[in-house]
Symmetry: C2
Subunit: 352 residues, 2 copies
């Protein structure tokens, strides 16, 4: 007790900032420096109190990141990126789980725990623009997750229509013509599933192909089992697609399992493209071609907007920000091996 | 679709604030207004914010679940089970992420956010028994995650040694003799990696085989890339294993990718067994045999212990509880397809 950051800095012979960087797990610390500071921390029995600093400013130092589906690696990977981005501003992230339920989404964004949480990054599924307009909670809110709202909040989402068109273009360039879309949704026109389906339609039409709606399969959920069931349904009603474009990687991976079970070769018989670039897509027996949203940029943009608004600095009005994405071509559409690592330059631009 | 506070407000013809006051039992509501709002609540089947009720009892209604690695699907799946178990007691779960750093583990368990969190379920990596004995925070704590502590807290973990022996026994029964263990750790004798490695050693010895330590590969981390690197290292130093037993599924899945790249057939040339039974293990081109801890039981036991202690009811002293596990045999060791679903009866017993 009573050991301060300054005591640790003196013992280690480094600056207080360096100790802070180590404690906050900043990436800007060499392993040697980390070890040296850690030794001083251990010797002195220092216990950091991140909360105290924020409390002095009337804040808790905690931001919430609310996702619809923790079991989907896309959100788990995005959460990791948000945690890293927040640590650079000395914020702790608590991950909240809405299960994609409107009631939970309303709860986290409207009246939930403002005494606990300084700000919220929310990836909604069922929230409506009216819900957001009616929000009376004043803590900062940043929206992620690709659904579009006419509401006075920062919204960060890649261009889903353009990204989907890129994926379909790739399959067309391979000579595929019967491209199925797995994972459409009923209702809610501005959800990402609709935007990606619109991209499928637009790119086919642009290539002079009339979109065959019998190749669009609606799924119950967003998981591997849904992809497997969708392919089974498609094949059992006699469709013979030569390519799959899936709403996300999990659906694509489930589809690939079923295609393999049915003796169809990937990519020779059926090429497959997913969306999300989860790590799993790089490690299957057949690696998965996928649209890779720039998760690091999404997380950094979201946290930076939130922290700017929390800082009380003058900040521009709500913006719609479009992080980059790129298509990563792997074995499931004839590419090589695991493809380039996800860090390499992402395409796309922030704007409007 | 859920019913929102706003829906209730519209039905009752009052402001959202008024509905909120009624739900939170605010004194500033007339009986007439209360009745009017209650009628709308009943008609619409609105379920009020659970937090309010907890706050009246001096609690927040929030428990934290701190995991070392959100990107590992095992923890994401376990978090889902904890969220479900907590919901049955009207508790909300915030997921916290320690990155497996001792400093963060100390933070969450010792002095962090007691004003926010009623209780904590923690899956530690680097925490020592001394850290736990020195804990001065009085909120309930339940430990998960298989490392064993001599500390006065409930600890919930499967029997890692016995589970590992089951996996190795299965490979021996298939006639495999050069069984590599991927994912050992240096130091920390009571960590699960050591317990599983001990199981590997004990089962080999019981079969009259001297454990060949050159078949034990230490990895940097717990991910797919670590499994891929481990197999590469093993093959490049000339080892020719006929089976892999991996510390976890991610390491096993990374290993399988590399084995496939090198032209080795699974299971004909190399049988593979993992540990965790993450969903991905059921969907690869070759499904993965794995030790399946009963995640539902782990989550339920942890939440029940925590809630019992929060309730103020007389509860027995700290216990070490052993949930069940079972071996799920799939294609990577000669089994069929996806194997039975994970819900089917798990083996093992609670005790000591």
């Amino acid at each position: 007790m009573g050991v301060s950051l300054k005591d640790v800095a003196q013992r280690a012979g480094v600056s207080i900032k360096t100790v802070s960087n180590v404690v906050n797990n900043s990436p800007h610390v060499t392993p040697q420096m980390r070890a040296r500071v850690q030794q001083a921390i251990d010797e002195l029995g220092y216990r950091p109190n991140l909360t105290a600093r924020h409390l002095r400013k009337g804040r808790t130092g905690i931001i919430a990141f609310a996702v619809p589906e923790l079991g989907n690696p896309y959100f788990a990977e995005l959460a990791g990126a948000v945690i890293d981005a927040a640590a650079r501003h000395d914020y702790t992230v608590l991950v909240d789980h809405t299960a994609g339920l409107r009631e939970r989404e309303l709860l986290v964004c409207q009246e939930f725990r403002s005494h606990v949480i300084d700000g919220l990054i929310l990836s909604p599924i069922h929230l409506e623009t009216a819900d957001l307009v009616a929000r009376h909670e004043t803590s900062p809110l940043v929206l992620l997750g690709e659904r579009e709202y006419e509401a006075p909040y920062d919204q960060i989402a890649i261009d889903n229509v353009a990204a989907a068109r890129t994926a379909v273009r790739h399959l067309l360039d391979l000579g595929r013509r019967r491209i199925t879309f797995l994972g459409s949704r009923t209702g809610q026109e501005r959800q990402p599933a609709h935007l990606r389906l619109r991209g499928w339609r637009e790119e086919l039409a642009a290539a002079g192909i009339t979109p065959d709606e019998s190749l669009v399969v609606t799924t119950e959920g967003y998981g591997r089992a849904d992809g497997a069931a969708a392919v089974t349904a498609l094949l059992e009603r006699g469709e013979r697609p030569d390519a799959v474009f899936a709403y996300n990687d999990l659906i694509a991976l489930g589809a690939m399992r079923t295609l393999t079970e049915r003796g169809l070769r990937i990519p020779e018989d059926v090429a497959v493209v997913g969306f999300d670039d989860i790590e799993e897509s790089r490690y299957g027996a057949t690696t998965l071609t996928t649209v890779s949203p720039d998760k690091q940029a999404i997380a950094r943009l979201a946290v930076d907007r939130l922290v700017d608004r929390l800082s009380g600095k003058p900040v521009a009005g709500p913006q719609r920000i479009r992080p980059g994405y790129r298509l990563v071509v792997r074995e499931s559409s004839g590419g090589a091996g695991q493809g380039p690592p996800p860090e390499e330059g992402a395409r796309g631009a922030a704007g409007d």
